[in-house]
């Protein structure tokens, strides 16, 4: 933990605080032992400075996996989350879901009461009901990585022989485990080490895209590319464009049904499969080149977990030959349970289930519609739902129990790499929720606290108080990751022959890139977070190729009706470059009917069409124009550069052309005696993940404006990630304020509301701004955002609790923009001045920089020739955006690197 150490309380300090608060609580509780919940300070401990944030390690959950978190706490309120750099799964940066989790904590729509038959009840009554839960009991959960929950469930299953445990994740990675079973004879987790793979061949697998793995994949990928003489090469064949495809050396749009053939062909190149007939010349060329690359340099073949198990197994077998140490196999982190959703529904429909306890899952919405989960649920006499929201499932159950948010909970969970985290509450529960670990034992009549349960689970490895506190402080349990497993390769079963081209169009399902399977649908930051490739907000669309659009006679936003299995959904069409012909992509997560004011009533529900038997692919659907046009809001309407070269590309080792001379200016140059802050963004490392965008919103109190305002063009994001589609690839360009030396905005403002600071920052003086908007009209980069309405007052009533107290909340009629996180600079300056020293290199980091898993954002003092940012400026790939305008931006970029050899 290099960056955060400055702000972190030392271990000693932490223990002191813990001891102080516990002593205080012990007094209050008259010797009942340490409290199980967070308590406010009654007497302020000596080293707690009002106004100075404190940092604690814990975790948030994503599909059951722990996301290592370092939470910033202001006066008892968590305001900002970042990845916990001590944890191997988040040693750099974070992802948008982790960043946005803090807003979920304050979501006013989060469930806060025990509900029985629609009426508020008490936990007392709920526990009684749980203790009397009738047999046969079925437990349905999402993916579970928590050792405590796993232990509790095992205990429950042992003591209640009638009970069975079913696991259902609407997205998950279920097929991946089956594939490992097929390939290696046991269920295993597959870990790709992208930093060790000279060649990466992805067949539909979104390695760099959103998901629990994104943080470590992007980090490793960036490390492999950073200033590499021979950067790793990425081959991507996919049906629908992904962030992985965006950065591909060569990407090939291939219909989903043809991907197994592609894998077979690749397998044939390594003698592992029969070469299938029917590949096009282009596809064969792609395979031949990728195979040659793999043979020469070695690397991995990542096959999408949405493809048939045999196909994935073949991919794993190829990688066993070529992958070296880039593929690591471990015991699975998430336990599979005793069954899935389909067999549970079968039992329920047959009336063989006496009671169903649904823990943190929402099958009434996420179950494939052909299972008809709601009807089957009706036949279960006692239905209990525990979740964060009163969602679709809660409405169909007699009991709804509110779960505490991860940031309010004691608990434990494992990150994707298997390293466990003890979760500690950052705040007292804002609502009446409790932890899942405190609910499950109630079925056995036990009334426990989650803290006790967690401590019981870890009594062995963390038995000593020292070890326990160390685990809490560091945010991980050292050495708790499962070791790599050595496996025997088994003969790969043949890939089933391709079924031939599907009738008509082929539909594929994908999780939504910002609200996933629908679980984040009530989070306004994630709703207003532009989808990485098409920049749509607040909606899901159906991606189609331009050929399909022509055949259907539709343009962007036109409603098309998709009918399959007697059900039909109207979806807005969206023409997407790099989409495979005759492929339609539907996104899960929208069309919610219950579960929050923001979640409901927007988008379409793709689960309605999702077949239980093949959850990722639907054939035999018919498409027709439905008539009508959907209003789709995007934050970027044009994805072509229009003849400009905004994200230039160089070959490895090549330099950018010498920058043009700075043209003369009538204003004398500024001089900087102390610091001269600057930023460099490496466009080669940026994968467009959006973590920086959410981090900026969280840090700088950036308001959400809603779909209607985005439609007009008034989104407020201080930092945006532009995406440009070129003929071969998609390039990303994160655009914060350029802090120009010759800033047009400074010239335009009539009232000195935007001025050049002594350290080079282009400063916005909110209380001097009268809103002429001249600065924004003059800004060539259009990074300025105007409060056309009082957006800050339109946020939910609980939003102020999340706000960063170090950043002004802007009112109506005021311009705002990226400040280079000036509050962090000032905090560092105060600290440095108190200690009588200059601000050290690395002491100031911006929120976007901290959030970037690729490390693509470099910030620091340009006056210091040894600083990282000065070195990056000296990089031959350095270029200035729109340099011909003579604005002398302080934010500069490093050109993208693509090696052109072997490219067709």
């Amino acid at each position: 933990m290099d960056d955060e150490t400055a702000d972190l309380p030392s271990r000693r300090e932490f223990l002191k605080v813990m001891a102080a608060s516990m002593a205080m609580a012990a007094l209050a509780g008259c010797g009942e032992g340490p409290p199980s919940e967070a308590i406010p300070y009654v007497v302020q401990p000596e080293d707690v400075v009002p106004g100075r944030p404190r940092f604690y390690a814990t975790a948030t959950l994503f599909e059951g996996y722990a996301q290592p978190v370092l939470a910033e706490i202001h006066d008892g309120r968590p305001t900002k989350l970042d990845g916990n750099a001590l944890h191997p799964a988040a040693s750099r940066g974070s992802d948008p879901f982790l960043q946005a989790a803090v807003l979920e904590l304050y979501d006013p729509d989060r469930s806060g009461e025990v509900i029985r038959e629609g009426v508020v009840a008490t936990w007392e009554e709920a526990f009684t009901a749980l203790a009397d839960i009738p047999a046969p009991l079925r437990l349905l959960t999402g993916s579970v990585t928590s050792p405590t929950l796993q232990r509790q469930i095992e205990d429950l299953l042992a003591r209640r022989p009638d009970a069975r445990w079913h696991v259902f994740e609407p997205v998950g990675r279920g097929l991946r485990a089956q594939a490992t079973e097929l390939a290696f004879g046991q269920r295993l987790d597959v870990h790709w080490r992208l930093d060790r793979a000279p060649v990466v061949v992805s067949l539909g697998e979104d390695l760099l895209g959103p998901g629990p793995d994104q943080m470590r994949h992007v980090r490793d990928w960036a490390d492999a590319r950073r200033e590499a003489e021979r950067p790793p090469r990425l081959w991507v064949a996919e049906a629908t464009p992904s962030l992985t495809g965006a950065g591909a050396h060569r990407r090939q749009a291939v219909s989903e049904y043809r991907l197994p053939m592609m894998v077979s062909a690749l397998g044939a190149a390594f003698g592992l499969a029969e070469a299938p007939p029917g590949l096009t010349e282009e596809e064969q060329d792609w395979i031949a080149r990728a195979a040659a690359d793999l043979r020469n340099r070695g690397g991995i073949v990542a096959v999408s977990s949405t493809l048939p198990v045999e196909v994935q197994a073949l991919g794993l077998a190829i990688t066993r030959q070529t992958g070296g140490d880039a593929m690591i196999l471990t015991e699975p982190v998430a336990v599979p349970g005793q069954g899935g959703l389909a067999d549970l529904v079968e039992e329920m429909a047959a009336g063989q289930v006496g009671s169903l306890l649904i823990l943190d899952a929402n099958p009434a919405y996420t179950a494939p519609a052909d299972l008809d989960f709601p009807a089957a649920l009706e036949r279960v006499p006692l239905r209990i739902h525990a979740g964060l929201y009163q969602d679709e499932t809660a409405l169909l159950c007699q009991w709804h129990l509110p779960l505490a948010h991860a940031l309010e909970s004691w608990g434990d969970a494992r990150a994707v790499d298997g390293t466990a985290i003890i979760m500690q509450p950052m705040i007292r529960p804002l609502r009446n929720g409790i932890e899942a670990a405190a609910i499950l034992p109630a079925v056995l009549g036990q009334r426990v606290s989650a803290l006790d349960e967690v401590r019981a689970t870890w009594a062995g490895p963390l038995g000593s108080e020292d070890a326990w506190r160390r685990a809490l402080h560091d945010g991980l349990v050292e050495g708790s990751a499962p070791p790599p497993v050595a496996v025997q390769v088994r003969p790969v079963p043949p890939v089933p022959p391709p079924e031939g081209p599907p009738q008509g169009l082929e539909i594929v399902f994908r999780p939504d890139p910002t609200i996933w399977d629908g679980r984040f649908a009530n989070n306004p930051w994630l709703q207003e977070l532009p989808k990485p490739l098409n920049k749509i907000v607040w909606d899901n669309v159906a991606l189609i190729s331009s050929g399909t659009a022509q055949a259907l006679g539709v343009r962007n936003g036109a409603l098309i009706q998709v009918t399959a299995g007697g059900r039909s959904v109207n979806v807005p069409a969206w023409i997407m470059p790099f989409q495979a012909e005759d492929t339609v992509t539907l996104f899960l997560g929208y069309g919610r009917r219950q579960g929050g004011r923001l979640a409901t009533g927007i988008g379409y529900d793709a689960y309605t069409l999702r077949p239980a038997a093949s959850p990722w692919r639907l054939t035999g659907a018919s498409l027709a124009r439905a008539g009508g046009q959907a209003r789709i809001a995007e934050t970027q309407l044009y994805h072509e550069m229009g003849g400009r070269d905004l994200v230039p590309v160089v070959a490895p080792g090549e330099a950018m052309p010498q920058p043009t001379e700075r043209q003369p200016s009538i204003y004398p140059p500024w001089t900087y005696e102390s610091y001269a802050w600057g930023m460099v963004v490496d466009t080669d490392l940026c994968t467009g993940c959006n973590a920086c965008v959410v981090a900026c919103m969280a840090e700088n109190n950036v308001p959400v404006v809603g779909k209607d305002e985005v439609l007009i063009g008034r989104e407020m994001h201080w930092l945006r990630v532009d995406s440009y589609d070129l003929s071969g690839d998609t390039r990303f360009l994160p655009v914060p304020c350029m802090h120009c030396e010759k800033a047009p905005c400074e010239v335009g403002c009539p009232v000195n509301a935007t001025v050049h600071g002594p350290e080079g920052l282009n400063q916005m003086v909110y209380n001097r701004c009268i809103g002429t908007r001249t600065c924004s009209s003059y800004c060539p980069y259009k990074v300025r955002r105007f409060n056309y309405y009082e957006y800050s007052a339109r946020q939910p009533e609980t939003a102020p609790a999340q706000r960063n107290p170090d950043v002004t909340v802007r009112g109506r009629g005021v311009m705002e923009k990226c400040t280079y996180c000036v509050q962090r600079i000032n905090a560092a300056r105060i600290q440095a001045e108190m200690e009588g020293r200059p601000i050290a290199e690395g002491e100031v980091t911006t929120a976007c920089q901290d959030a970037c898993p690729a490390g693509a954002i470099i910030f620091g003092d340009l006056n210091n020739p040894d600083s990282a940012v000065s070195r990056a400026r000296a990089n031959p790939r350095n270029y200035r955006l729109l340099e011909e305008l003579n604005t002398w931006p302080r934010t500069t970029y490093l050109a993208a690197v693509r090696d052109r050899e072997g490219q067709a």
Partner: protein, 449 residues
């Protein structure tokens, strides 16, 4: 120079005719009907402004990148219209052009009222309109001055100067006529008011001499405002790096465009006044003919401006400039380009024909076309400069809302109410200058005989 007024006109008929408009209003009903319509529009103005203050500028269709829309379009259009009045009054006075005497009074009123309308928009369009005075250099406890590099600050100065000087010029020029009104009226209240406004004018030689000095002095001050005010407005655009704005031709281009639109509105007003108050003998076809020639001349200058602007965009080879030029002609707002090209350049070519210059209905239509055309041109310049600038990722269109139109219509209502009040209560035509002209013509006639 040939005679502008008929030889039947005498000092008495001129005085009688002009004072009668005020003292014995000829078209009371028509005036009230026009006033009612104007008051309705003024009501829309107050409604639009009121809701603007309550809800904020978000009620307009503006966004980022189109930070400015109808608000600034209307500012530029209104202030441009004012320019013809100033030019006709001051420039032509100094240059000794007699034909201005029939037009200058109402043209000056038009200038003043148009400038007031123009000045409203930059205040109303602020995010915090209540703080508009921060743009003025006034001593304050914050020890803060405006940012003098900003063209906006200079616009504030020039607008303020413009309104002040235009008012002074108009008022000072009216003093002799106000005295005439005082003398002619029979109502005590009116006499008291006109008397106060006439500042004790007795028409002595000394008065005339002092007055002449003051009048010409103000005219000389006003003189440069014809050029500077709209150049300043142009700098608001040319001062930024925006493609389609950042060009040195903008100041002269704006000034002649302003005079062009102003002459058009003078023609419109002249035709209406002529018709409403039977002023055909004072505002003769000869006057209209001269105005039409002026419209044609400034229109041709405008055409040159378009050509030079387009040429330089092409000649620069700059990709952003070329993009904007292309967007202007073929983009989403191409209607504003083709509309202004047709109305400002094609239509006015009819004015080469004497018959059309002297046909009142034709002239009215062409002048109306020019006024609308210049509004479209302002729209074109402002919106198409902003909506697709440098980074394609930021490009976004602009759609006006009912509130922007409400404010525009309301500002026309404000102008109309002010002008109708002026026409009803103040001498519409400069009597003493017409009489001077008669005297001159008589001397000329005497010389000929």
């Amino acid at each position: 120079m040939s005679r502008l007024l008929s030889s039947e006109e005498t000092y008495e008929t001129v005085t009688q005719q002009v004072t009668d408009i005020t003292l014995h209003p000829p078209a009371r009903r028509r005036w009230w009907m026009l006033m009612a319509l104007s008051l309705l529009m003024l009501g829309i103005f107050f409604l639009s402004t009121g809701w603007l203050f309550i809800a904020g500028v978000g009620i307009w269709g503006l966004n980022v990148p189109v930070n400015w829309g109808l608000d600034i379009v209307n500012t530029v259009w209104w202030v441009g219209i004012g320019h013809a009045g100033t030019m006709i009054s001051a420039l032509l006075l100094v240059m000794g052009q007699q034909w201005r005497n029939s037009l200058n009074r109402f043209a000056e009123a038009m200038t003043l009222f148009a400038a007031i309308c123009a000045a409203l928009f930059p205040i109303l369009h602020l995010g915090k309109p209540e703080l508009f005075y921060w743009m003025f250099p006034y001593p304050n406890t914050m020890d803060l001055w405006p940012q003098f590099r900003s063209p906006l600050v200079w616009d504030v100065f020039s607008f303020t100067a413009y309104i002040t000087v235009s008012f002074l010029f108009w008022y000072v020029g009216m003093i002799p006529d106000l005295a005439t009104m005082r003398d002619k009226t029979t109502k005590p209240l009116a006499r008291a008011i006109y008397g106060r406004l006439a500042l004790g004018w007795r028409g002595t030689a000394q008065h005339w001499e002092r007055w002449r000095q003051a009048y010409v002095a103000i005219a000389l001050i006003t003189f440069h405002l014809v050029v500077t005010v709209h150049s300043g407005v142009a700098m608001l655009f040319a001062g930024g790096p925006v493609p389609g704005w950042h060009t040195t031709i903008f100041p002269p281009f704006f000034v002649q465009g302003a005079v062009f639109s102003g002459v058009a509105v003078v023609i419109l007003l002249a035709v209406v006044l002529r018709h409403a108050f039977h002023l055909g003998n004072l505002l003769t076809l000869k006057h209209l003919d001269i105005l039409a020639k002026l419209l044609l001349a400034t229109g041709l200058l405008t055409a040159y401006g378009y050509l030079a602007d387009a040429f330089h965009a092409w000649y620069s080879g700059d990709i952003h400039e070329m993009q904007t030029l292309h967007d202007r002609l073929f983009g989403r707002y191409a209607w504003s380009a083709w509309g202004s090209l047709f109305l400002n350049i094609v239509l006015i070519q009819l004015l080469w024909f004497r018959r059309i210059r002297r046909s009142v209905p034709m002239l009215f239509v062409i002048a109306l076309g020019a006024a609308v055309g210049m509004w479209l041109e302002r729209y074109l310049l402002i919106v198409t400069g902003l909506y697709r600038d440098f980074l394609p990722s930021s490009w976004h269109g602009y759609e006006t809302t009912i509130w922007e139109w409400g404010l525009f219509i309301g500002s026309i209502g404000l102008f109309a109410v002010l002008f109708l009040l002026f026409a009803r209560f103040l001498p519409l035509v400069s009597m003493f200058e017409l009489k001077e002209e008669l005297a001159a013509e008589r001397r000329m006639k005497g010389d000929e005989e």
